[in-house]
Amino acid sequence: MALEFSAESEKRINEALDEYYNTQAALIPVLYIAQDEFGPVTPEVMDLVAKRLELPRMFVEAVASFYTMYLKKPFGRHHIQVCRTLSCHMAGAQNIVAHIKKKLELEAGGVTPDGKFSLEEVECLAMCGSAPAMIINKTNYENLTIEKVDEILDNLD
């Protein structure tokens, strides 16, 4: 069945079209709206976005493939992104990643079988002064310790 945007997503798309200079400029936010609704930005999602914005399909794919925050593979309900860059590394990011891997039986780039968690090591998140840091979905977590990570993960449903 062909995908369709929900009424809520349509509302957000129309708001984006009002804010930006032309339709093309709304593509980047609209790809996020699509990802929020459908999950990974698959070929079917790109079809839908191209159709909705009346942009060439190839154009949508070129943009979606350029940016790393449009996820092309399935991800968990809680997508954990731990910073691996220098300041976080010096503050122990590797131990945080190793702990999450062990705790959730998960590799970087993987999803737990129940679809609850996925893990990714990412580049600098601009929280170097409160390293180590991570983002889960849209929430920042800073000054991480193993205990703090346990508490955060145990409280997600």
Binding site: A25, I28, Y32, Y67, T68, Y70, M90, C128
Partner: protein, 423 residues
Amino acid sequence: MSELVLSKRFNTPDSHLLSTYEADGGYQAARKALDMTPEEVVEEVKKANLRGRGGAGFPAGIKWSFMPKDDGKPHFLCVNADEGEPGTFKDRSLMRFDPHQLLEGIIIGCHAIRAEYSYIYVRGEMWDEKEILWNAIRELRAKNYLGKGIFGTKNNLHIAVCTGAGAYVCGEETAMINSIEGKRGEPRLKPPFPAQVGAFGMPTTVNNVETISNIPHILKNGGEWFASLGVEKDGGTRMYGVSGPVKNPGLFERPQGYNLKKLIFEDAGGMLDGRELKAVIPGGSSCPVLKADEIDIPHNYDSLRDAGSMAGSAGVIVLPEDACAVKAMANLAQFYAHESCGQCTPCREGTHWLNLLIQRIEAGQGKMEDIDQLLQTCKNMMGSTICPLSDAAAMPMEAFVRKFRDEFEEHVRLGRCPRDGRL
């Protein structure tokens, strides 16, 4: 303690609200500026010796003066909030704790360059900051501080937040313009410069968040006052970020030209757990590293250039003596290899090969000639690409190899990392 300008309200409750900002004299500078001619505003900013805070340090007033007059085209002010240079975390706080300071700066800047559109390009991961800015914009729209005929003048102004989606290269101004247009964030050839052909083909100025956040203060207190806060040719204060194993990491607003050693050992509390200082990256990961005995210098553009490095974004990364220099640079090499957009061969191939070579050396499988190969590769990467990402990857590598060559050679001789990859 020196005078706080940009971060004065950071600890005020509800510092992000319009009511808080106006109670502290907010938007008076915008009213004042809108009664001046654009040329008068530009002159005031020139007098302030305000240099761009994104990293390149170009004088902001002069940049504004490149914008055409009476060309009949719409003009754009794009604000660069794509903060992604490792070690840098100042713009996040400026948006989070004082969004109206930035927005007032935009209103004044748009008047100066005759722009009716402004886009704040915020990196994708900064979800909270995007929402804070949108809320602040809605507050302004409700009071007709934005829209048509703002503050009872003939000026119209539309401000919107644009979002990045995970690409470091979009911090480069022409890549950012492409991304704002909804395209792949690939840098454009210059010329034409954005002031001639920028966003949507129209004259455009791109300024960093911190640069624009200074503007209301310059209009309120005068360019000469602002210039007097800093050093010659470099006015105002700077949001210095200190990260790494220091007792008190974080943001410190201090005058331009603040002593780098003092910043680390007094303001940031010195080294953690009695560790010794090995080296300092003074302005974000792209700036050549300084050894511990090279940091007793003022931190500003000209002084750091004379020391063979750069002030960059003032994100100071501290490396301890027990950390492996090869591992530190290998961490950054992986970053640049990941972030090259791939348009230019020297950068696409160069960042990749630098990463492979240094990872091999760090793993104890390198050869002596690999070390010279690193330097040769750096040489071929510099000055030969559309944007500075290639140079940004090569410059720190070249400095690490030159200053810590003994450590690189030790890895090859021993066939392992003498510090077991510790950072």
